[in-house]
């Protein structure tokens, strides 16, 4: 059979039910094979949309996402989602078309060195040089993408080879001698960590996106509750611990709660799980958690001691390690009362510094309140896909996520334009769940063409655009750190005759219901009407223009010096 027909068989063997992509010259054979493959192919309107949709699918389901693009510009358009998947450890296999082998290296039409361009952005990549390798390579790619620390894998397939006739036999094993991720944590180290936790008087559990990737939320909850430990999650980890909860400190980091950041600052022991001490978490590294010793649990050994030297490193699968750690800890029968003073201190911070914002005047809609209203209307049970900017931080702060895989955002790379296509993947991965995009007037325009995909697929996604007519986060930084010298941040989307685009009309042009909200008095009712209606909708919410995200660790400052 043709290599591309074998490709389809391999996808089915991997349990793939939906893929995202865009056809072109170099992947014509692949698209010919789709005609009879019986695989749901979602035609996106830009390859980046397809890549992010595959990420959204993977983040919502835990399964490997799949995206297709042609050679040259098709592949270069995928570079952003590939890097995004790398930074956030998302399992996605990207198939790129490539020019015929005889044209390789000749600057042929739509030729790009995809393997070279994507090399720093992939977990691994394969250039097919022999079509008989393709089935094995596909299974190896899925294996690498989904195991260990998940990540993106690229398969670059020259057109002539994709048409070649190959003998196809199902592949049941993969053989990668240089790739053996460690899954079981060292038993002695786990014991040591349990003893350290039992000895700590000011412990904090710092949980990241690795908990979500490892499906370890139950084990995390068991450990936290066994010890009565304060727990905080990173932006990527939201939902890993059910919020709200009495042991929950909220998110930590640049726009985290004071309670979480102050607790990190004063902790004597920090247990980091599936987290990587990103600069948005630590603030000024030399002043980060100065009194703390660190337990660091991660499946990627290179993360351990990369930014902050670990005292008790444990490499392996968070699910297995946390399960064992909770058991060991219970066995120590530690005295709960030793944490009383610590909790008193934390409660004082929580009472003095809750997340808050000034209520708006009259009909003014505060952006934070929109998030609270979405939470209320969806009973906290929606999948929230976010773009990047102020709205992202408000969504992270004010939508309490009760479970993993509900909060889908671009954390590491911070890709504007991520949210809308990611929601397409998330909705297809979890069709029964209300899926909301929280976006801004800047981000939405970076991939707004995917409204057409939503319409074509008839997905009931609700896009809620917090429109303040500014690139708000950049504006905030210019206001606070660049002496209010505003430079290129007014998007001209807010009110007035000249506002452009008119999002309601734009949605209408795509055949999607558009609604504009300007009145705080009816905000909840208006949102409820839109969210509970069938089909997709675009809501242009005119919010306070100059609202800022607070609290904040100023760039290069220490957590204890948070402002706002």
């Amino acid at each position: 059979m043709r290599a591309v027909d074998a490709l389809m068989k391999c996808l089915k063997a991997e349990g793939v039910d939906v893929v995202f992509g865009y056809p072109g010259g170099a992947n014509l054979p692949t698209y010919d094979a789709f005609v009879d493959a019986g695989i749901h192919h979602v035609l996106v309107r830009h390859e980046a949309g397809g890549g992010h949709a595959a990420e959204g699918y993977a983040k919502a389901t835990g399964k490997v996402g799949v995206a297709f693009g042609t050679s040259g510009p098709g592949a270069t358009n995928l570079v952003t989602p590939i890097m995004d998947a790398m930074m956030d450890s998302v399992p996605v296999v990207f198939f790129t078309g490539q020019v015929r082998t005889e044209l390789l290296g000749t600057d042929g039409f739509q030729e790009a060195d995809t393997i070279g361009i994507t090399m720093p952005a992939v977990k691994h990549s394969f250039l097919i040089t022999d079509p008989r390798e393709l089935p094995r390579v596909i299974h190896e790619a899925f294996h690498v993408a989904r195991t260990g620390r998940p990540g993106p894998v690229v398969i670059d397939l020259p057109m002539d080879l994709s048409k070649a006739d190959i003998p196809y036999e199902p592949v049941t094993d993969v053989h990668l001698p240089g790739y053996q991720p460690r899954t079981t944590g060292n038993a002695k180290q786990i014991k040591q960590a349990a003893r350290a936790l039992a000895s700590a008087r000011r412990p904090v559990i710092y949980a990241g996106g690795g908990i979500v990737a490892a499906e370890a939320a139950d084990e995390l909850r068991a450990l936290v509750r066994a010890g009565g430990f304060p727990v905080t999650c990173t932006l990527m980890g939201l939902g890993a611990y059910p919020a709200p909860d009495e042991l929950w400190l909220g998110m930590l980091g640049m726009h985290g709660t004071r309670a979480a950041n102050y607790a990190m600052d004063e902790a004597d022991l920090i247990c980091a799980v599936g987290a990587r001490f990103d600069d948005r978490i630590t603030g000024k590294l030399s002043e980060f958690a100065p009194r703390a010793k660190f337990i660091h649990i991660d499946v990627d050994p290179a993360e351990i001691s990369k930014n902050v030297p670990a005292h008790i490193p444990i490499v392996g699968d968070a699910k297995q390690i946390l399960g064992r750690l909770a058991e060991e800890y219970r066995g120590l029968d530690a005295d709960h009362d030793r944490l009383d003073a610590w909790w008193q201190r934390i409660h004082a911070w929580q009472q003095r510094h809750p997340l808050h914002y000034e209520p708006g005047d009259g009909h003014e809609i505060k952006p934070q309140r929109v998030i609270q209203a979405i939470h209320e209307v969806t009973a906290g049970e929606a999948i929230v896909c976010s773009d990047v900017g102020q709205h992202q931080m408000w969504a992270a702060q004010y939508y309490d996520f009760p479970a993993p895989r509900r909060w889908i955002n671009s954390g590491g790379l911070g890709t504007m334009g991520f949210g809308l296509p990611a929601a397409i993947g998330a909705q297809l991965g979890d069709p029964e769940r209300t899926t909301v995009v929280v976006t801004g007037d800047g981000s939405i325009q970076m991939n707004i063409q995917e409204l057409a995909t939503i319409k074509q697929e008839n997905l009931p996604i609700k896009v809620i655009c917090l429109n303040n007519g500014y690139l708000g986060m950049v504006r905030q930084w210019q206001e606070l750190f660049w002496q209010e010298r505003y430079s290129q941040v007014d998007t001209n989307t807010f009110g007035g005759e000249e506002a452009s685009p008119d999002f309601v009309k734009l949605a209408d042009a795509y055949g999607i219901r558009g609604v504009r909200l300007t009145d705080a008095a009816t905000l909840e009712a208006d949102l409820r009407a839109v969210i509970e209606a069938d089909g997709p909708a675009f809501v242009d919410v005119r919010v306070t223009r100059d609202e800022k995200v607070y609290p904040m660790i100023a760039p290069g400052e220490a957590a204890r010096d948070m402002v706002g």
Binding site: I115, G116, M119, P120, K123, H124, L127, T129, V144, L176, P177, G178, Y179, Q192, R195, A196, A198, S199, A200, D268, L269, K293, F294, D300, P301, A302, I304, S305, K306, P309, A310, H311, I312, P313, L332, D333, A334, D335
Partner: protein, 183 residues
């Protein structure tokens, strides 16, 4: 209650990793012999800001496997972080951070030195002292091949430089572990 024997003084915990050793390290890396593997290795070094001092690549006795030998300054980089990052490359099979005392390391260098009738014999004598080989003699220049540890090559360079060093080409070090054990 926790038994006092079970208690652990947090003060006693020592941080591990991210340590700068301050010495030169020779890493011997076995990789799959596939296109692009060297690019992956060198790209990783660029991306992570690790500075390679020397790098050499060659076949092994197994045609499917190549060996990369590279030297790094352990004062500038935490070697454990370098090794862990390298291990993440799927094509990297094995990495050995060779102990300097347990390792035989050699580099080959070719020196083209400008000479005249008088200095030619002086350079030849120097080459002999260094057990170098004169591999080409011209009217105005001479080419000397020297093999040895880096310090020896550098010493020879210092000595011939005053004569007029036209060109020098070095291979980068290759290294093998002493004793019966495989590198």
């Amino acid at each position: 209650m926790v038994d006092t024997n079970e208690l652990l003084s947090l003060d006693e915990l020592e941080a591990a990793g991210n340590i700068r050793t301050g010495r030169k390290h020779v890493l011997s890396i076995l990789v799959e012999n596939k296109p692009g593997v060297l690019t992956r290795v060198s790209g990783l070094f660029t991306r992570r800001g690790f500075n390679i001092e020397t790098l050499s690549v060659g076949p092994t006795d197994d045609e499917r496997i190549s060996r990369i030998t590279l030297t790094l300054d352990g004062a500038a980089h935490p070697i454990d972080q370098v090794v862990k990052q390298l291990h993440k490359l799927v094509n990297v099979l094995k990495i050995k951070d060779l102990e300097p005392t347990e390792t035989v390391a050699r580099e080959l260098a070719l020196f083209k030195v400008s000479v005249d009738g008088q200095t030619r014999s002086e350079v030849r004598e120097l080459a002999e002292v260094f057990r170098g080989k004169v591999v080409d003699v011209g009217r105005r220049s001479i080419i000397v091949e020297v093999t040895g540890e880096r310090s020896k090559i550098e010493a020879f360079e210092r000595l011939v430089r005053p004569y007029g060093l036209v060109e020098m080409i070095r291979t980068g070090e290759v290294a093998i572990a002493r004793g019966r054990e495989e590198t």
